[in-house]
Symmetry: D2
């Protein structure tokens, strides 16, 4: 299969305007030029820590549903890494930006974080493997691209240098390419209905990525 | 167990202010006095139809996880009824309020409807039976109470008379009492950690009930 | 699609010798000629009651995973019926053949019954909808065919007349035809890999049907 | 909690005679004294390879359901290791004992292996976290104990030295102690009904361990 006909190429193309909206949204602009308020970054970090655990659980279900032992290894390792990254947030960023363990525990998932986590968990259990992969892919891929984009234009030094460097790292990008490859392989032998469901899941994940950053910018809380 | 010590009594009490917020929110006030715009009611009906299918699926998983054959019957019947009610929306209300089958198909789940459906599905698969029941309960119980409340104060005749009569019906209330009873039985033998998770699920469901009506009032769509 | 190219026609053909083995196995021969010992029938009834609950749970998961609201109704109703049939076993046969409620409770699932129930449950949760249907189908279809076959050749009166009449009834056969139709529809749009998995699940279910009757004949218990 | 009151201590005690039956069964006696036929060992290895993949998938679901991030890491790493061990079987033992990749692919799961895998998968998805752990525990613990027992009495040199050394290794025993500890922690806060279900799952897993070795000794295949 050439890149033009792959699921990932089609999905990226179909969601190009949503990606552009993410790339240019206030949160990421302010992150790049270093003007992002500590309050907003703190909100973001705390919700990201909540998110990573749910992301890790969904990855574990993807591992359980994988169509071969390679996928079982790939996604159980990814689940492990999600928790490792969550822990490094606590050690590296929560300390630096004054989020105490008690403050973290006292902060529940924001509505959008809860929405995104619920979407990943429900898809992981209720849908077939290729659709699970398509739901998980935006978080990997968009982060990788946004990371590189912000790295390229970041004003340095920047209070968020350490975060910016994390997601632009080569190790992360290698993992992302592997997830894209597995998703494309799954799509290549899936039925048209399943590929359609994959596109719907990918689009939903992309929307929720935008909403997650937007929620951090608005420091949104439950309305009731 | 007396009522005071039951899970349901405690959950209702803990979420009393959220219930009051639902009871007095603009959508329900306008529904009762008959001033609700057709556009808002249409938005609500379409999203309710989407919701009922996901609710039915979550009820089916609850049936699968039930701790005895009574629960298996109770929730597989409830799943059947959810689809029957969804179909009656199409026949009774979509026709009356000019929602064509094509218009329905072309209208995706709103963000809040998708959030609520994802929450029910993820809880149904990922959590133990008592927590699944607690997540499903607000939809039953709050609807029943709101239905009776609106019935009591509705300006008649009202363009939404038929809808108001549906949820205030005795048959629905009987089903709701049975779900409360099963949830209380499950809570009575659950561990403290599970009861805590039940309360969190019930509170989340209650918040999403408010957000669902609020979303219909705002006729909210995806931001990106 | 014509019958020759349907999944069900292909699956029946591929498992024809296993069906013939079931049709001619000692248990069914003895049931038809009325020489089956009460002990063996009792063993069979008790395990069937255990089985029906697990079958009902798997049907409920199939309902949850159905690809449209029709399937959600079809399989949540089938789940309800499985429990209703289980209850009628208690009322009609357990009484007649002296299986007290205490004796039933004291009798655990036999190894083969546990194997079959575990297979249905694991497939229901872990596999996509078409494969779930293929795993559930042998129980419906083989019972219907064996029922009619035994009815045609049964020596009458026969101590097991009431049981024989149950499975040869037109209502059950109509339900079976509907499950075949839904399975064929699901197969028609599934990928080749999924259809292959459907055939594997159907073959496994057929083997377990044979093993279930064989286990009743041997009145098999756990070896350790 | 002292050891005497822990779930694991109670479960081990309750299944002591089954463990003794495993310890003294022909397969393990012949393994220890080096008289086990290559055919039986080959059958065992092939089924063990099949089993490990299903075990890995069930561990991944356990990771997804874990009650804290530690459990998510513990069981996603265990899932990874299950596949790594499965691969080492191919590299180390399949080569040495002449099991070609084609021969492996052509050999389906035996009835008991399929039974055990189905039990783990169904429990993993359908049951709450503590019960999932209890179902997974016998495979860890009994292997560790049998490994040490065989090591202590093995006639050396023995054609199966390499296998014997694997399961008696300290690294494996450390992992087993960690799984016991997590299971005991989960049991400590579980409800009495859940602990009862944990004991049932542990006992079932223990029975299936015996049946797995017995099946290898009999080189059992599907009866139909």
């Amino acid at each position: 299969m050439n890149a033009a006909s792959s699921f990932s190429a089609a999905a990226w193309q179909a969601n190009a305007s949503a990606y552009e909206a993410i790339r240019t949204m206030p949160f990421n602009a302010a992150l790049a030029d270093g003007t992002l308020s500590v309050e907003r970054f703190r909100h973001y970090m705390i919700q990201d820590a909540h998110y990573l655990i749910a992301f890790g659980r969904a990855l574990a279900v993807a591992a359980a549903k994988s169509d071969d032992p390679d996928g079982l290894i790939q996604f159980s390792q990814a689940a492990t890494i999600a928790v490792v990254v969550e822990r490094s947030l606590h050690v590296d960023f929560f300390t630096k930006f004054d989020v105490s363990p008690d403050a973290f525990k006292a902060t529940p998932l924001s509505p959008v974080c809860h929405h995104y986590c619920s979407f990943l968990t429900s898809t992981a259990y209720a849908e077939p493997y290729p659709v699970v992969l398509a739901a998980l892919l935006p978080c990997f891929w968009i982060y990788a691209e946004i990371g590189r984009d912000i790295l390229a234009r970041a004003v340095r030094p920047n209070p968020y240098d350490a975060w910016i460097d994390t997601y632009a790292g080569e190790e992360f990008h290698e993992a992302v390419r592997a997830v894209i490859a597995t998703t494309d392989r799954a799509a290549a032998t899936a039925s048209p209905d399943t590929v359609k469901a994959m596109h719907a899941a990918y689009a939903r994940g992309t929307q929720l990525e935008w909403m997650f950053w937007d929620s951090a910018w608005r420091m949104a809380d439950w309305p009731v």
